[in-house]
Each structure stands twice: as structure tokens, then as C-alpha cells.
Amino acid sequence: MVMYNFSHLQQLEAESIFIIREVAASFDKPVMLYSIGKDSSVMLRLAQKAFHPGPIPFPLMHVDTTFKFKEMIAFRKRMQKEIGFDLLVWINQTGIKRGMNPFDFGSEEHTRVMKTDGLKQALDHYGFDAAYGGARRDEEKSRAKERIYSFRDRFHQWDPKNQRPELWNLYNNRVNKGESIRVFPLSNWTELDIWLYIMQEDIPIVPLYFADERPVVERDGNLIMVDDDRLPLEPGETPKMRKVRFRTLGCYPLTGAIDSEADTVPKIVQEMLLTKTSERSGRVIDSDKSASMEEKKREGYF
């Protein structure tokens, strides 16, 4: 008898494709938030698969804080060219006018204005009623409770006590004008699943994930890459070339590198299996307090 086996990874893929199609079919104006990171790269591949042989029927959008790594922007351009999706880039002009940067305003203020507020502005500007994001539930404790369709009110706020129950694969797509959902097709993927999928599918990712000699300075236990001359150096601080890589990608002054020799996906996975710190601890913004992610989510951060 044929068993019709379906592996764990195939199940995750099928579930994500179902969600991506369901949103495209039942919302007026969806958009896929493209952060250029590895999870976004996987989500992008799943969107290609969902509508093959057709094109992706919604635009991708990158909320640019102007402090992203240069290599991320180069990679974004390359992907757009290779795959041919519609791409929107949004920069919060109010923030630009204020001269927003993480050094003078602090990491929290910078992230709030350029990322959180920028995202809200962009969603309002285009009138998107559904935004795909690449967040996973295993990333952080408070995300374990996030819905696949995460309902946001007119002010893009997330109320953990007022989320719709989600049963089977019957997602409730009803929103009033001005309200929206964030939808997380990768909710059930773990970091290991993401890497395995990248390897198996040969999905291109930003080279910053792989170890290389890069100029870094050490601050408060974090290795910060000197990606351009906007990073003010403290007295006595000189960038040193170190073989490092990044476990997550965000604004370069706010993203810590790790010393690493891993320059292939299997080596990254091997390093990850041996490593003793969880993924988001490389992000400077998360170490503020233990439940800070939850507060950011309430405000509309992904």
C-alpha cells in the first residue's frame, strides 16, 4: 500500500503556501513586507511557489531605515532583477527631516520612528489591508502566542487580549475599513527549518550571513560592523578586521556580529547546533528588558 508520506518540511511548505494563497484570494490589497533577511527570502520563495506558473500577484515592500547594511540593499536590487517582483521602498520622510539616527536619538527612538512609524505610514499611504511578515513563533516567547492572522486596529495596534480565535485552517479575513491584518505564513517554522529549506532549495541569501573578514568595533559586548562612515567612533576605538557573520540582519549599528568561521549553510547550522545563545540576542534593541518585544508589538512593530 502506498503510504503517501509527507515530511515535516513538506508540511510546513504546504501550510505556508495555503496561507499565502488564502490572503491573496480574500483581501483587497495585500503586500509582502520584505526585510531582505533569510526568513524574508524563504517567504519570497514560498510566494513564488504559491502562484507558479503566474507571477506574485501583490507587491513587496521594504521599509528602509537608511541604516541597513549596504550589502542588504545590493541584494534587494539583485533579487528584484532576478525574480521580477513589484517592489515598493518606503523611507519615513518625517524621520529624515528630523535627522533621525540611532546614535543621537538612541536605538529605541530610531527604530520606533524609522521602522515602526515608517511601516504604519506606508500601510496607511497605500491602503494595504493585509501585510505578510516573516516572523516565526519560535523566535521569542511572546511570539509563541501570535496568531497567523494577527488583527490590527485602525492604529495598527495589537491587543493580545482581543485576537480572534484561530481554528483549523479557517482564517477569518473580515476587517473594516482602516483595519488590517499582519499575516505570518512562517509561524510554525523553526530556525533550523529555515536553514534546511535554504539549503535544500538553494535560496539566495545576503552574504552577511556567511563568515568573512569585516571591519568591526566592540561595544558593550556586541561586535558592531563599521559599514560606512556614519558610525561615530568612541575615543580610542579603531575598527579591526575580524572574521565574523550575522545571525540576524537589521540596522547595521544595532546588529551585533559573532566571531565565526561558518561560510556555508551546513557550517552555519553546525555552529548553530553548538551555539548557546538564541537568535534575537544579537539584536541590541531586544536586551532592554525581558518583555520588551511585547511592548513593541503592541505599538505595531513586527
Partner: protein
């Protein structure tokens, strides 16, 4: 840390590649954990994650730090804090929502739906359980089975979760006693006999100390059944899928250009093959599968839960919400169905209110037209109800504005589930499991004073009541025996029937159990069903009296109002109410059918005198004390009464 402790870490690149492939090829088990507030659910999950090395050191450090402020245990760290995420719930010390956790061993990948045990959160358990193959039911060894244990088990079984891992937790607090474990197991088995189609597995554990969770317990050498993790790793679930009834709900119509039209969707059940003859529902249009497309290329067949794109040979009109099926295996197509519904909103259910129902990829306006009953989810009793409040479960009739295709949930989880959405607030207010109408028990017709149709008229007989009395030489009477189970009704009825017959009287017994085998086999023991039972019996007794017979009824008939109705139907002049007044202690000591014992053990419920009322008559025509009276004496008293009243010749 992603690895089982028994695994060795891959070191070379080739080993890592091999390791990754193995990880991807393992299958997946989704399970939920349910227990009462202090049963140790979060602790168990924390233990599974910790012992299977899923916890990163920085998370562990945060937990140890947190243990000082939030910890509820006296050990060095509280595993529960590994899983409790939201601030508010941590401050309350309880989990208030469904949280999903991920871990894997070298055998399987797991998704845990961590669902709350708190009283008002039935809905969250339904949510978490809807996608699960297995439920871990936690029982505190010190307390045994609580109401919430029954509730969680019942909801799990309603949701079609076939495998229940019943963990008797906190065994360390009962000295790892085998006797305690066996008693709880036996109690649970008694209760679970009422649940449909479940596979039970019992394990004694201590989540806090780790006994029998991941590692076998040294403290319970008497238990050889394997650890919880071993069970989770080995229980077969792939066979739970429905591979027979092909259902392909169309999700998205793909038209990239004029030459291509594809139907995107996920196979809900069954196997779809290239070349298959298919029917599109609800239109009924027939065609064949031209191809099954995926990003990787065309495939010959698709099965659940594959997400594919189907092209067909003919130009048929198919859109989102339609269902492709095989011509000889059809779902129900219609606008009316019944479902068990879990109500999830603080706003109570409104009969005929304005709702939407989502079923597969359809979202259609619908009304809930009837509420047949509500479950008391602790006792599983069916109760009469006007509405469903949040966290209540009931059986409803639903009418949709358009035809949809569906199957009974027990047969097909994917095409038998629905959610109910409030059209005004857009909130998801209910979740339902469609019932099989072929198998349903007929609902009792509501007894009305008047016939349902105004065109019904009584016909007169040419034989008068007097002529019948003269023929049979008796006055037709109904002797209505009422009393507790075991009071002696049936025994007296039989002795009386014999005596009357031997005296040349035409008589007949209507017995409760006999009637429930036939005429009233659709009725249970709820208050509503009992009333209907008595109404029907009264009508029959009245007819038999009309035919000239003496009738002896032997029914508990516990409600005064029902007996008053019986008197009204049969006619006051023909009705003799005989109260068989036996104290409950005497009835229980007799217990001829072993029913009191079962009722006391909770195996049968709504048992009169135990957990259902008996309203003794205020003014019975005759009261018989049977505790110290031989049956013949009771019979003699009844015959004497009939003779005194002129109902029986001396």
C-alpha cells in the same frame, strides 16, 4: 539544543547535511496539553523542552532570574517559566491563551499547542486542539479526575483528537504510589467509555522532577509503559488522515494570461490523479484533470496536505469556494446542516442572528436556526437551553444562504469544520463540527396542545365505550405506578397483572424499559426527554383504555407536572395514581439492575434520586409502603382500592 540528548552532534559538513536532511524528512506530530490550573501543564512543557535540550542558555538564564520574582516552586528553577510568555499572564501566574512551542527529537518534530486549564477558556482549548492529532491530559495525582479533566477530554474527543495521553502528574507528592495511579486510571477509563473513538494511554509522571517525561523514572519501577516522550515519538498518526474521499476546495483561480487557467488549492482528503474524471460542486459540471502543477514541475497525483494547482480539460466555470470531487464519492451539498458548536464570544449566540459561516474556502451568510440542546460539559448531560454563552457547547441547526459542500466532521475533519463570524463585529464567535445527519437521533417532537395541521379532525367510532365495557365486563382504568428505581413498581405491576388476568380482566403493562426499546428509543433522560417520554406513554395508555383495557404503567415519572399532564390526557375518571413509596436507602440496597452502583460511580448520570430529582406526589390516590410488605399484600391493597372505587367488580 535542537537535538535529542541521545544524538551525537554532527561535526563534519557531510554529517551536518545528513543531519539536516534527516530533520526535514521526519514526520510531525501536533499535540495539545490540557489540564486544570495547577496540574502542572507549563511545567510539563518546560520539562519536555529542557530535557530534550531545546532551551538556549540565555533563555534559561532569564528564567532563573524570573524564578526569583514569579516562581511558584521551591526548586532551583521553575520549568513553567520557560513557556509562559505574556507579561499579564505571568503576573497572574496562569496561561491565558494558546501558545505554540516547537521541539524535535531524532524521531519526530513536534508542535505543542499549550492551552489553558482555566475555567472560562474552553474556547482556547478548542482553538489549540483543532489542528492536533493528540492530546496530553494532565491529572494531579493528589486530586484525581476533576470536572475540568472531564471537560478537556470531552472537548478533545469532540474535536476529533483520537489519541489521548493521560498523564497522572505530581506522582512525587503521592510517594510514587502505584495504587493511586491505578485508581485514577480506572476512574478515567470508566468516564472515557462515553467518549467516541479514542485511543487511551496512561503514564505516571512528575513533570517538576522529570520522572517518566523524557527519562524513565527510577522511582516507579512498577511502571513499564515507557515515558511520555517515547509515546509521543512512536504513536502512529499518519493513518488518521482520510485518503479515501477526494475533496479539493478551490482556493484561488490562477489566470496569469489568457492561455492558462489553474485552480490553486490544498487537497483536503483523498487522492487526486492526473486524468481523473472530476465534478465541480455545487454546479455539477464534469471534466477531467489535465494536469497537476507545482513549482517543481507537474506531478501525477496529489494527496493531503499538498498545495497544488489543477488544470482541467474542459472549459468549466469554477471559482473560489467550489469543490472538485470524484463523481462516485460525493460530499453533502446543501444549505442546511447540524453542528456541535463551541461558542467563543462574550456576546451570547443569537438564534436567527446575522452571521457568516466559513467552511473550506467558502464564506457565506448564514443563520443559526435552532438550538437543540446544550451540553453540560462536565457531566456530558444534554440540557435544554435558549442560547449558548461563551465557552458553552451545543447542538445547533444552521442554514446558509448559498449551497456549500461538506462532510460530517467525524468522517472528514477538513471539510466538516466551520467557524462562525459575527457580521457586525467581524469577530470569530463560534467554531463548529458538522454532524452526520443520517445517524442522528430523531429530535423529540415538541408536544403541543393542538395537532400541527388544522386539517386534522377526529373520527367517531361506531362502537361506543359502553359497548366495549359491556363486552369486556370491566371499567378501563390506568393504574399509574410512580416511584424511584428499585421501589418495586415492575414487580408489583407484574403481580397485579397476573392477579387481574386470573380474575378474568383484560389488562396490559406499559413498562418503562420496554417502551424505551421501541416507541421511545429516541429519548434520553434529560428533563425534556423525560417529559416527552411520559406524554407518549400517557397517549398510549389513553388509547388502550379507549380500547377497553386496564392499563398498568410502570414508570419512575419523577415530575409532578408530567403526571398531572398524564392524568389530563388519560382522563381524571380513568386515572389512578399509585405512589410506590419506598425509601431511597431501601431501593439502593435492593438495586436489582445495579443502576445505583453505576450512578454513584458516575457511570450513568441524571439518575433519579442520585443526580436528578424525584417529586413525590402530594395527593396520590393510593400510597403503598413496600419496605416491609410482601408483593402480594401490595397487589391486594390495589385491588381493594379499585373495588372500593367501583372500578372493579368485587
Amino acid at each position: 539544543m535542537y537535538n535529542d540528548s541521545k544524538n551525537t552532534m554532527p561535526t563534519t559538513e557531510a554529517e551536518v547535511i545528513e543531519y539536516l536532511k534527516r530533520h526535514g524528512e521526519k514526520d510531525m506530530l501536533r499535540f495539545l496539553t490540557a489540564g486544570s490550573v495547577d496540574d502542572g501543564k507549563s511545567t510539563l512543557i518546560g520539562r519536555l523542552l529542557y530535557d530534550s535540550k531545546m532551551i538556549y542558555e540565555d533563555q534559561l538564564a532569564a528564567v532563573i532570574e524570573d524564578s526569583a520574582t514569579h516562581g511558584t516552586t521551591n526548586t532551583d528553577f521553575d520549568p513553567a517559566l520557560l513557556t509562559d510568555g505574556l507579561k499579564a499572564e505571568r503576573e497572574q501566574g496562569i496561561t491565558i491563551d494558546v501558545a505554540y512551542r516547537y521541539f524535535s527529537t531524532d524521531k519526530r518534530n513536534f508542535i505543542i499547542a499549550d492551552t489553558p486549564g482555566h475555567e472560562q477558556y474552553t474556547r482556547n482549548m478548542a482553538t489549540g486542539g483543532s489542528t492536533c492529532d493528540l492530546a496530553v491530559i494532565l491529572i494531579d495525582a493528589r486530586h484525581g479526575i476533576l470536572e475540568q479533566t472531564r471537560r478537556h477530554s470531552f472537548i478533545a474527543s469532540l474535536l476529533g483528537i483520537r489519541h489521548l495521553a493521560v498523564c497522572v502528574n505530581k506522582m512525587d507528592l503521592v510517594d510514587y504510589s502505584q495504587e493511586v495511579f491505578e485508581r485514577i486510571r480506572s476512574d478515567y477509563e470508566g468516564f472515557a467509555a462515553k467518549l467516541e473513538d479514542v485511543d487511551l494511554h496512561f503514564i505516571p509522571i512528575s513533570a517538576l522532577l522529570g520522572d517518566n517525561v523524557v527519562d524513565p523514572s527510577e522511582n516507579m519501577p512498577w511502571f513499564q509503559g515507557g515515558t511520555l516522550l517515547y509515546y509521543l515519538e512512536t504513536v502512529p498518526v499518519a493513518t488518521d488522515r482520510n485518503l479515501i474521499d477526494m475533496r479539493f476546495p478551490v482556493q484561488y483561480v490562477l489566470r496569469p494570461d489568457l492561455n492558462y487557467r489553474g485552480y490553486c488549492g490544498t487537497v483536503a482528503s483523498g487522492v487526486l490523479r492526473k486524468g481523473d474524471e472530476i465534478v465541480a460542486l455545487p454546479s455539477g459540471a464534469r471534466t477531467r484533470v489535465a494536469g497537476i502543477t507545482t513549482f517543481e514541475g507537474d506531478v501525477a497525483e496529489a494527496y493531503p496536505p499538498m498545495a497544488v494547482t489543477v488544470t482541467v480539460e474542459d472549459e468549466v466555470d469554477v471559482s473560489r469556494g467550489d469543490m472538485l470531487i470524484h463523481p462516485n464519492n460525493r460530499p453533502h451539498v446543501g444549505q442546511d446542516f447540524e453542528a456541535l458548536v463551541v461558542w467563543m464570544n462574550d456576546e451570547p449566540m443569537k438564534l436567527n442572528g446575522s452571521y457568516l459561516v466559513k467552511s473550506t474556502t467558502n464564506l457565506v451568510p448564514a443563520a443559526i436556526t435552532d438550538l437543540h440542546y446544550r451540553f453540560d460539559i462536565n457531566s456530558l448531560h444534554r440540557l435544554d437551553a435558549d442560547t449558548l454563552n461563551a465557552n458553552e457547547i451545543g447542538r445547533v441547526a444552521i442554514s446558509t444562504h448559498r449551497k456549500i459542500s461538506f462532510d460530517p466532521y467525524q468522517r472528514n475533519r477538513s471539510t466538516g469544520c466551520i467557524i462562525i463570524v459575527d457580521r457586525n463585529t467581524n469577530a470569530t464567535v463560534g467554531a463548529g463540527m458538522i454532524l452526520d445527519r443520517e445517524k442522528r437521533a430523531a429530535q423529540p417532537v415538541e408536544a403541543t396542545a393542538e395537532p400541527k395541521s388544522e386539517h386534522i379532525r377526529r373520527e367517531a367510532s361506531t362502537v361506543s365505550a359502553d359497548e366495549r365495557r359491556a363486552l369486556l365486563k370491566q371499567k378501563p382504568t390506568t393504574l399509574w405506578l410512580t416511584g424511584l428505581s428499585g421501589s418495586g413498581k415492575s414487580t408489583i405491576a407484574q403481580d397485579l397483572e397476573r392477579s387481574l388476568f386470573d380474575r378474568g380482566q383484560a389488562c396490559f403493562i406499559l413498562d418503562g424499559d420496554n417502551i424505551r426499546h421501541g416507541l421511545n428509543r429516541d429519548l434520553g433522560f434529560s428533563a425534556g426527554d423525560r417529559t416527552e417520554n411520559i406524554r407518549r406513554v400517557s397517549e398510549v395508555a389513553g388509547l388502550l383504555n379507549d380500547a377497553g383495557l386496564i392499563v398498568i404503567t410502570s414508570f419512575i415519572s419523577p415530575y409532578r407536572e408530567d403526571r398531572a399532564k398524564a392524568r389530563e390526557i388519560i382522563g381524571d375518571e380513568r386515572f389512578v395514581e399509585v405512589h410506590i413509596d419506598t425509601p431511597i436507602e431501601v431501593c439502593e440496597s435492593r438495586d436489582p439492575k445495579g443502576l445505583y452502583k453505576k450512578a454513584r460511580a458516575g457511570e450513568i448520570t441524571q439518575f433519579t434520586g442520585i443526580d436528578a430529582p424525584y417529586e413525590a406526589p402530594d395527593a396520590a390516590d393510593l400510597v403503598l409502603q413496600t419496605a416491609d410488605t410482601p408483593v402480594a399484600e401490595s397487589t391486594r391493597q390495589i385491588i381493594a382500592y379499585l373495588q372500593d372505587q367501583g372500578l372493579l367488580k368485587a
